[in-house]
């Protein structure tokens, strides 16, 4: 029974993440309106279930833009940020971690120093500085998060590499004449990738939340892009009389992050069980 519940949770997570991804990709086909088109005659129209009309199922914002369309396009921003951040930070973190874990000694000292140095950098402060210097844009957010969120990848890649490094098949590969590069890429990496996948889901959820937080603070995606965090920020002045303007993107964020975490937990269970056989 327990196993079944977990199974359902994993599938639910996969459906949420997969669904959001599909929505993000085919956003232009799904969105009923142009997410940037303003209609000042129809501002803060409530959603259909709160007395609005079918014209704007999720209502409109303070500039009369269709909320459903903005939510759909917002999925693009969230997924884009999540994926690009994980790819960037994953590349950096895994490279450092595997090198440190495999070679040990001085190399490992350097990697550990880099990790400690990174952990002592406050993320929001860096984001603030970078935005002050360069102005806010999607690229800046992706780069800031990608260049900062690699610490967990590095830590996990390092420890798992250390475990794998001393296994016989690595020695056997060396005895069969494999080069170092070959051993790192083809022998070590495939055997730690399950751990890294779990980290990737956690980091993706974190990146999406951080983007929302940064956008809320005005340090992230610049208006008029429909980021969910930005939608909450723009709606906060109206939340007492039109609560849906923060509820709708808030719930979307919550569901997506929950989905990613469920998927991550499920992956951990699945891959963990596969290993012990």
């Amino acid at each position: 029974m327990k196993l079944r519940a977990r199974h359902i949770a994993t599938v639910l997570g996969a459906v949420i993440v997969g669904g959001t991804l599909v929505v993000a990709i085919i956003a232009p086909l799904l969105a009923p309106h142009d997410p940037f088109a303003q209609d000042l005659m129809r501002r803060l129209v409530p959603p259909e279930w709160l007395g609005g009309t079918a014209l704007n199922p999720f209502g409109t914002d303070q500039l009369g833009r269709d909320y459903l369309s903005r939510l759909i396009y917002g999925a693009r921003i969230s997924m884009l940020i999540g994926i690009l951040t994980v790819v960037t930070s994953g590349t950096i973190g895994v490279t450092l971690g595997v090198l440190g874990g495999y070679f040990g000694g001085r190399v490992d000292d350097a990697v550990m120093f880099a990790i400690t140095a990174r952990l002592s950098i406050p993320l929001i402060l860096v984001a603030l500085t970078v935005v002050a210097l360069t102005g806010s844009s999607l690229t800046v957010v992706v780069l800031t998060l990608g260049l900062l969120l690699w610490d967990r990848f590095a830590v996990v890649a390092r420890t798992t590499t250390m475990q794998v490094r001393n296994l016989d098949y690595i020695a056997a590969a060396r005895a069969a004449g494999a080069s170092r590069l070959h051993i790192l890429l083809r022998e070590v990496l495939p055997n730690i990738v399950s751990h890294l996948l779990v980290v990737a889901t956690l980091e993706m959820a974190l990146a999406i939340l951080l983007e929302a937080a940064l956008s809320f603070l005005g340090l992230g995606v610049p208006p008029p892009l429909p980021s969910w965090g930005l939608m909450i920020a723009e709606g906060k002045d109206y939340m007492f009389f039109s609560p849906w303007v923060i509820m709708v993107p808030g719930i979307a964020l919550f569901v997506l992050v929950l989905g990613i975490n469920l998927l991550g937990d499920g992956l951990r269970e699945l891959l963990g069980a596969g290993r012990s056989q």
């Binding site: 016989d168 056997a172 494999a178 495939p190």
Partner: protein
């Protein structure tokens, strides 16, 4: 023993020393293995057998220091080869199989892809050629349905099968030297016998020089042409296998042989022999006989340099005692 011409020496090691920081793991080992010869390195855990093998293959862990007067494989001076040169020899001219077949294969790839990779690396074979050769070798090591096995992952194979795969992998490029580090220790007894028979057959067919590491004197008796008994990083006795079992001379070798019950020959009323104590950790500055603390014949002289005594037929041992010490007493 067959007399072989001296130019067919595959591996020659003289005065090999390996240190890990303040521990001397191997202290001046000399070996020579001819083509078609099985040389057994025997000794208890921690005596430096495996380290010797790894040192020859250039696979020692970081922090290990290796020195040798001679470390020659055919005409290659291994002590002068860099990592790249060693990598070219490993898996091609010299191959190694390990103790633990359950962990010696990478769980992430099929048997076929691990085997074809070795051929692609050393021979530049195409995928198809490599698969044909891999299947041929699997058949040769007694695996039925080799085509099927090529597509399987290591976890789908039993321990005995995996060790056969490891042997097949080691032989892919027709090596001249095969080092087998306790290849049957992790297997159960019936499978052990099969694997040993297989190694013996392959060695005869291919004319391999086989360096077999074991702690099992039963395996030595059945496999070896020549035996070197190791103790605390040194060879204490080396002899053709018949000579060693007929006339073990070093007190340690005697002690080892006394520990083995022989059905019908051991006396039931006497306790089985044992050697008290454990193998000591040896510092690089250590002098004298390393066995003296556990030896019943030790006297003060044993703390000084011990001579290597030569007997007939290439039988030699490292001890102050003369050849006929037990008869003189």
């Amino acid at each position: 023993m067959i007399v072989v011409p001296p130019q067919s020496t595959v591996l020659e090691v003289a005065n090999l020393r390996v240190r890990f920081g303040q521990t001397a793991a191997v202290r001046g080992i000399s070996l020579r293995i001819e083509r078609g010869e099985t040389h057994c390195l025997v000794g208890e855990s921690g005596c430096g057998k495996s380290v010797t093998a790894l040192a020859v293959m250039g696979l020692l862990a970081r922090g290990a220091e290796r020195q040798a007067d001679v470390l020659r494989f055919h005409d290659h001076d291994l002590s002068r080869l860099n990592e790249r040169g060693m990598a070219r020899l490993r898996g091609d001219r010299m191959a190694m199989i390990f103790q633990e077949p359950m962990t010696s294969l990478n769980p992430a790839y099929t048997i076929g892809s691990q085997m074809t990779e070795v051929l692609a690396r050393h021979r530049g074979s195409s995928r198809r050629e490599a698969r044909v050769r891999a299947a041929e070798l699997l058949a040769r090591v007694g695996i039925t349905a080799p085509e099927l096995r090529l597509g399987q992952y290591p976890h789908q194979l039993s321990g005995g099968l995996r060790q056969r795969v490891m042997i097949a992998m080691a032989l892919l490029c027709d090596p001249d030297l095969l080092i087998a580090d306790e290849p049957t220790t992790a297997l159960d007894v019936t499978v052990q016998a099969q694997i040993l028979r297989l190694l013996q057959r392959l060695q005869r067919e291919l004319g391999l020089a086989l360096l077999l590491i074991t702690h099992d004197l039963g395996i030595v008796a059945r496999m070896a042409h020549r035996v070197s008994v190791m103790y605390a990083g040194e060879v204490v006795e080396s002899a053709p296998v018949e000579a060693l079992f007929a006339a073990p001379t070093h007190p340690y070798t005697r002690g080892l042989l006394d520990c083995i019950p022989v059905p019908g020959a051991s006396r039931r009323d006497l306790p089985l022999g044992n050697i008290p104590g454990v193998v000591p950790r040896i510092a690089p500055t250590f002098a004298g006989c390393a066995f003296r603390d556990r030896c019943g014949h030790a006297i003060a002289v044993c703390a000084e340099a011990v001579p290597w005594r030569r007997m007939a037929d290439g039988h030699g041992y490292l001890c102050r005692l003369t050849e006929d010490w037990d008869k003189a007493a």
